[in-house]
Each structure stands twice: as structure tokens, then as C-alpha cells.
Point group: C2
Chain length 260, copies 2
DNA sequence: GAATACTGTTCCGCTATGCGAACAAGCAGT
DNA sequence: ACTGCTTGTTCGCATAGCGGAACAGTATTC
């Protein structure tokens, strides 16, 4: 059941808006060209509804229509929607130079993100010279439960929110929930004991990374990760170099924010 | 009259969706925290309508509500909307290394963008070491008529689209239309004669830049600019270095795309 | 402390939108 | 060329959304 249906019975909830946004979310890298029928399949909405919503989004500049293929793709207008969001995360400006320095020093990728539903959304990404990792743009989505960044956030949110998220994650990860739950529990424990969490081949089998959360002054929780391909980043390097260095960097970010 | 009202009478146009998106667009850097009343003023919509739409956007994770201030701000979910858009501009991956190299060589900012309504939206931005310019993120909006990037696009679009845009720009720039029109006409002429356009203090009084358009294989028009603070970038440097170098870089991008 | 102003929410009658069914257009297979 | 399938659009009735008026809560002014 999509998010749009969850609160549909609430008289204040505007279903048309929710559905239009679900259409925009249906596009993803690897699927940037979709027809009305494909959108109907991906969203579960009837084709007449899709037809009207895609027409509206195209008129407004959020989708463009490729007449030759009979398909839609996101247009530049959707980028403008997110820009103010980035501007409201002041932590980005503070963190960016420190992230870039760490990325260069260790020749890894260092990213900052926050949670959206059951995923982490990249707010910033800095990369070392080697550039061996897939470069994920701002706006990229990665899983909450199996990545270092996601696990770091789960370790830092209030207990009530974590319980709520664990419940939703259990329903989301039906088949391998035991393994996912153990990874999260270990992360909460790791964070308590050593101040950082890790994902060692849990998300992508050849990616290792560590994560550290940060609770902002307004109580928003963000998280950093630092990692790369597992053939370059041994377990030892994670524990003796990346973890401690990231923890120190996040501590520096926190200190700078406290004096703004 | 907002875009949402333009096509409101069309039975296929979904007004609720259009209005919800107008709310998201109302947030901008410098105005990332807005209350329902402020949103009503900025969009021209009645307060009950705003109340329902902001409630819906908050439920879905596109806005978050700051109870202490009684205001809304964009949440991370809006970033996810735009990510597929970036992924569909393959030109970014092709152009980025060449842009980064040029930015480093000349110690300037080199950006790529495309049009959304009467603005250019940044798709990519690379910066030299000096970092003296305000770093504009992907998603940033700059004017169409007074920037090098915007003028480059106007110089390259089909005549019919340019006429349409000039008409809308005339209504948008009521008071200084003569000056704006002259800048656009000069840009079209410059592009024809020398392959690049310029903006010398026309957008921001202390920013000079040059621009070169690129028509992609699917006929989408994008544009590059290259520039920085005017005290570093003399007229001579624009014409003898930046313009020619940017034109060559864009030519290289075009050649690479032709062989993909 | 009272009055006023401002902002946000609720109500309800009217208008807009949703969607199953039907239809239309284009494509694939024979 | 014909038939069947797939995809997209149109129609009409039922339901959702809109917005003026009213109400509620909070802040400001006197």
C-alpha cells in the first residue's frame, strides 16, 4: 500500500497531490523514461488518473513528453523543488570542507544524508582522487537498514522513532528480516561502544563503509558515511582508520555548529 | 497569474497537484521557513487550501513542521524527486571531467544547465581552487535573460521557441525590457559571429561570464557558462581566454556525445 | 486585563476530480 | 489485410477538493 493511501481517509489529505508526487517518485535512475501504462503499474493507479496527472506535470514543466517513444521523463523543474531543501541544511556548508579533506586524505567517498521514509537521501557527497566508487549525486537514495549511513541514523534517533522504524522495516524486509535486524542491533551496540557503525558488504557485497550520526540543534538527525570498495578497504582499515577519523570529523562539525 | 492558473480550465488539468507543487516552489534559499499565511501570500491561494496542502506534503515527507516556530520547511523527500531527472541527463557524466579540468585551469566556475520556465536550472557545477564565487548547487535557478547561460540557450533554441520566450520575457521584465532585449539580441548575434555569448555585469553587477549552448541528440537544449567575479575576469580575459576555451570544451562534449 | 490583530483550522455547499466502462489508435502476429 | 492485443483517451456519475465564513488560539497594543 503506497504512502498516499495511508492517510487517504483523512479529510485534510489531498489525494490528487499525493498521487502526482508518487508519479514523480516512480522515475529512478535506470528508469527515466516511462509511459502511462508503466506508471500505472508502478503506482497502482488507474490509467485515466495517470493520464491526467502526467498531463498536468508536463504542462507545469516537471515532466517532458517524448513523442517518438510515447514516454515521459523528468524535466528540470523537479530539480528546483529540492534546492531550497538543500539551502535549509546549514550543516552542509559547515561539513563540506571537512568532508572533502577527509575524502582526499583517505581516498574514499564521504557523504552526508538524512532520512526519507525507509531510505537515506544524500545531502552532500565528497570523493577522493581515486574516484573508484560510483559517484552518487545529491538526492540519491540508499537503504536505511543495510547501509552504514542508515544504521548510524537508526542508532541515534529517539527510542520511539527507532521502534516505529523497526516495525516498518520488518514489514519491508520480509524474507531476510532476521539478518537485517541483527545488523541494526549490532550497529546500535557499536555506536554505543565505539562511536561509529559499519556496513561490511551488507548493502552492496563489495562496498564497506562506516557511519556516524549527528543530531542537529533543531533535533533533526543526519548521518555521515565514509567508505568504498571492499578490496581497498579491509576490516582493519575500517576499524583503525576510517571509523576513528570519521568520528573525529563529525565531532568537529558538531563543535562548529555549537558555536554558530 | 501563476502557472497553475494558466491551464486550470482544462478538464485534464489537476489543480490540486499544481497548487501543491507551487507551495514547494515557494520555498527558496533565504526563505526556507514559511508559515501558512506566508505561503498564502506567496502563492495567492486561500488559507484553507494552503492548510490542507501543507498538511498533505508534511504527511508525505516533502515538508517538515517546526512546532516551535509554527512554520514549514522542505524535507529531504523533495530531493528524491529530482534525482531521476539528473540521471536522465547523460550529458552530465560526459561533460563533468571536461568542466572540472577547465574550472581548474582557469580558476573559474563552470556550470551546465537547462531551462525551466523563465529560468535556467543548474544540472552540474564545477569550481576552480580559488572558490571565490558563491557555489551554486545543482537545482539552483538563475535568470534566463540576463545570464550568459540563459542567453546561450536563447541563441540556440528554434526561432519559434525564442519568439515565444521573448514574448513572455517582455511581460516579465516590464520596466527594463529595452535593455534586456538588447542584451538578448546581442547574444544571438555574438553566438552567430563568434560561437559564444556573454553577460558582463548584467545579472549580478560584479559577475562576468561567457556561455555556449549545446543541442543534445534528442533536441533538448542545454547551455554551459564559465565565469566569476569581474575584478578577476577582465573583458579581455573573457574574449581571449574564457570564450574560446568554453567553446572548445563544448565542441569536445558534442563530439563525445556523437560517438556514444 | 481588555480589546484588537493576526494566523491557523473547521464547516459545508458548490465545483473539481477520480475511475470503471467504453472507445480510439497503433502495433504485432498470422 | 485482418484480427487481437496493448496502450491511451473520453465520458458520466460518485466522490474529493475548494474557499468564504465562522471559529479558535495566540500575540500585540493600550
Amino acid at each position: 500500500m503506497s504512502e498516499a493511501k495511508k492517510t487517504e481517509k483523512n479529510r485534510n489529505f489531498v489525494t490528487a497531490l499525493a498521487r502526482g508526487l508518487e508519479i514523480l517518485r516512480a522515475f529512478e535512475p535506470g528508469h527515466t523514461m516511462l509511459g502511462n501504462q508503466e506508471l500505472a503499474e508502478r503506482t497502482g493507479l488507474p490509467r485515466p488518473t495517470i493520464s491526467r496527472l502526467t498531463y498536468t506535470l508536463t504542462e507545469l514543466g516537471y515532466l517532458s513528453y517524448n513523442a517518438r517513444l510515447g514516454k515521459y521523463q523528468p524535466a528540470a523543474g523537479v530539480l528546483a523543488l529540492g534546492y531550497a531543501c538543500l539551502a535549509s541544511f546549514g550543516v552542509r556548508q559547515v561539513a563540506r570542507p571537512l568532508m572533502q579533506e577527509l575524502a582526499r586524505d583517505l581516498d574514499v567517498a564521504v557523504a552526508l544524508g538524512t532520512r526519507d521514509r525507509l531510505q537515506m537521501i544524500y545531502l552532500e557527497n565528497c570523493q577522493g582522487q581515486g574516484a573508484l566508487t560510483l559517484r552518487l549525486d545529491v538526492g540519491s537514495r540508499i537503504p536505511l537498514a543495510t547501509t552504514a549511513m542508515g544504521r548510524a541514523l537508526l542508532a541515534a534517533v529517539p527510542d520511539e522513532e527507532r521502534s516505529y522504524l523497526l516495525d516498518r522495516l520488518r514489514r519491508h524486509h520480509k524474507d531476510d528480516w532476521e539478518r537485517v535486524r541483527e545488523g541494526i542491533e549490532k550497529a546500535v551496540e557499536d555506536y554505543r561502544m565505539q562511536g561509529y557503525v559499519s556496513s561490511r558488504g551488507d548493502w552492496s557485497h563489495d562496498v564497506n563503509s562506516v557511519g556516524v550520526p549527528l543530531v542537529l540543534p533543531d533535533s533533526t538527525v543526519v548521518a555521515f558515511n565514509c567508505g568504498g570498495p571492499s578490496f581497498l578497504l579491509s576490516q582493519q582499515r575500517l576499524d583503525e582508520e576510517l571509523g576513528p577519523r570519521l568520528r573525529t570529523m563529525v565531532s568537529d562539525v558538531r563543535n562548529i555548529l555549537a558555536h554558530v
